[in-house]
Subunit: 450 residues, 2 copies
């Protein structure tokens, strides 16, 4: 411990760079959201609500203490779209760029996080990767916007209206921001499976993680005959898929006699499926989630707590963290302390990381919950837990309480959105400094556990 304190904070580490970028992005966003003409005529917005919207947009969470469609002008929508790019695409590609320019100073660990098995350890490789990230994400958004705009001409009188909704919905879905300009999320499209399928696909593209997209592209392009998917891609994709299916089944079962009871089976299915997709990190909804029963909201809180893939536009503890925890439990109960999967072995350090992330997340979410029961005495604990896990998972679903929060409540939610988006590992390392293994050892002694 002593040696740890002495070495602390000597070097500016990549995790601190990301956190700093985030603060700057939030500051820029607040300025953008206070520009003249951003609001609809006659609308006044408190500073804390602009800040809240900025944090929510940069962290692509989508919780808002005001009604976007009633507050912001078309110019305001454009600003929001820009901010969503800063938050969604920005964090990964700018982060990569920063790692690039810090050159040899950065450790192997961070390089591996970017390069994941691409054998691109040189400068051009990193530039290529950033370009790919931006290109792929923008391409997905454009395709989504074109499809939705064309389709929305049936819903809206003018092409301008359809275009505005098409673009905003596409950006909001792909960046998993979950903002809406309908005033009621995607509830107007609760019977429209085309809109739901398109937005679901966009959401998954955003939340599945950049490395997965790049590897799939590489796989499809067939340039590299010896290509194999990385362990990360396999693990996160399968976990994402399992959570998606499990979530759909559970929400279907939990709501079939409740809020879904008057729906035909296909609408029940799509309602369950869409909200399972959405809890990964998008936060868009097609039904009024306040009608869900407490079991469903608790279950969805757990899904939001888990969140999306790392290196995606999502938040939470992340799919891989959850997967490693479960795999570890299964292996440990069989008497093994290592995890072997897909003919690979998980590194010990990643088991440690997943443990640290889960404990920190649990402590944060529990403490925030108890704090909000004090500061928001009119709210139920179900509403509070849902709001908090939604913020931490940068999901943005709400039981309709965001605008009722006290200022302490709003600040708490902002901090959770921020940490959820930055990621707990980056957050931890930005606090704690570099790896700092003690060189001396004490005698080991067993204690009784569990």
């Amino acid at each position: 411990m002593k040696s740890s304190k002495m070495n602390k904070r000597r070097k500016f580490i990549p995790a601190q760079v990301i956190v700093t970028y985030y603060f700057i992005a939030i500051a820029v966003s607040v300025v953008l959201l206070r520009l003249p003409g951003v609001h609809k005529p006659g609308v006044e917005v408190d500073f804390i609500d602009s800040l809240f919207t900025a944090v929510s947009a940069v962290s692509v969470t989508g919780l808002t203490s005001l009604n976007i469609s009633e507050t912001y002008s078309v110019f305001g929508y454009v600003m929001l779209i820009l901010i969503l790019q800063l938050g969604g695409i920005g964090i990964m590609s700018l982060g990569t760029f920063i790692w690039l320019i810090s050159g040899k100073k950065i450790g192997l660990r961070e390089r591996q996080l970017i390069m994941i098995d691409h054998n691109q350890s040189n400068l051009s490789g990193v530039v290529y990767l950033i370009k790919e990230i931006v290109k792929i994400l923008l391409l997905i958004q454009i395709v989504g916007a074109v499809l939705l705009t064309l389709y929305f001409t049936e819903y809206f009188d003018t092409f301008k209206q359809a275009f505005m909704h098409g673009v905003f919905t596409s950006v909001s879905a792909t960046t998993n921001a979950g903002f809406d300009i309908t005033g009621q999320s995607l509830i107007p499209y609760h019977n429209d499976y085309f809109v739901q399928i398109i937005t679901s696909i966009l959401i998954v593209f955003g939340a599945i993680g950049f490395p997965v997209l790049i590897e799939v592209k590489e796989f499809l392009s067939n340039k590299n005959k010896s290509f194999r998917f990385s362990l990360f891609t396999k693990l996160t994709t399968i976990t994402y898929g399992i959570l998606l299916v499990f979530g759909t089944v559970m929400i279907y079962l939990l709501e079939m006699f409740n809020s879904f009871k008057d729906m035909p089976w296909h609408e029940k299915f799509f309602s369950a499926f869409f909200h399972s997709v959405s809890t990964r990190s998008a936060g868009l909804t097609t039904v009024d989630v306040t009608l869900f029963n407490e079991g469903t909201t608790f279950f969805m809180s757990a899904l939001m707590f888990i969140g999306a893939s790392p290196s995606s536009v999502g938040g939470g503890i992340r799919t891989t963290t959850f997967a490693i925890a479960v795999l570890f439990l299964i292996n440990f109960s069989r008497g093994k302390t290592n995890i072997q999967i897909f003919n690979r072995e998980i590194h010990l350090i990643d088991i440690f990381r997943s443990y640290a992330v889960i404990i920190l997340a649990l402590i944060m979410v529990s403490m925030a919950t108890i704090l909000l029961t004090i500061t928001e005495p009119t709210l139920t604990i179900t509403q509070i837990i849902f709001e908090i896990t939604s913020a931490f998972g940068t999901c943005g679903m709400s039981l309709g309480i965001t605008n009722e929060l006290s200022n302490i409540g709003k600040v708490t939610i902002m901090i959770l959105m921020f940490i959820g988006r930055v990621g707990l590992i980056s957050f931890l390392f930005s606090l704690g400094g570099k790896s700092n293994q003690t060189k001396y050892h004490y005698p080991k002694e067993r204690v009784i556990i569990g």
Copy 2:
């Protein structure tokens, strides 16, 4: 994985012995609770409620689906006291005895769990240890019963009444069972700080862990000049103390303007203190906990989830598990993967164990919560979470819903009480078989976490 499946279940392992003992103890208890004369005249009890009481008593939880004072006769009380000894003292001393008679077959690990640093690795040492456990726990109960009986003569008209309440309260507190024959826990004594202090001391003696008691006795007897407290004793005692103080402060703050608002400060303090003590595992209450606000009940649910010391009469994930999780997080955020404390280093296997216990506990408690939201549609999720963590932590506090539970609900609570008391490590090992490290290795590959 293949080699794991092949080796599984070849040997009868100590953890399975404990589980088996527990099943037998429950069966014996059901028989005792169905004896003629056990119930008050004219009272009929369903089999599931006798089973529920038996499981609750053997696991010293104290949740009851019926009112003890209205249901059982004095003979029934005596049976309950016997069952509490089977569950409280029985699990540790009989477990030790079983380990003893299995002799050389048992591994070093289990021996260490019993012997913890006592340098008593021979037969006579183990016999001595069992005798000590029984002796110390019975002595504590007798001293408590004498003090409370003498004091209760002020409350009751007859000495017989005072004696009955004194003995039952002492046994119920020391074994942390939390059963009561007043019909309203210790609420009749909410102004009586003597009763609260005595019961708190008895509760702590039961919940602090047998190794701590034995080491303190050894320390006080001064026989061994080179005596030092084990890492386990230091860790669990300090964690227990921190949780006690933190719990008292938090309950005081959370309830000072709510259910405690009309109390003088000393009654506020004692109410907070007693329920902090009680959430470790006792489950006795001095105020109506249904009046607590949702923040307090959620906080107390977290405390009950953590539970008491290992090798005690309590349940939950256990203090040491929680302590190691927090210490690991602190160390990991400083870049260290080992935990050094009190000039000792925590074994890697114990870090692994704490991780497995926490993940399994979270999954179990979450799944049980969602199940009960389905089977008990009239209950709030706050009531359900409180009941479930109370069962898992073998605490036995309830928001008054135990007798309203459906049969599925009762069975769920019984399973949680059973697993909570047996302990997740024993439970895991009884499922999974012996340590079974794979001999071959795959290449290691990093994944992105959190």
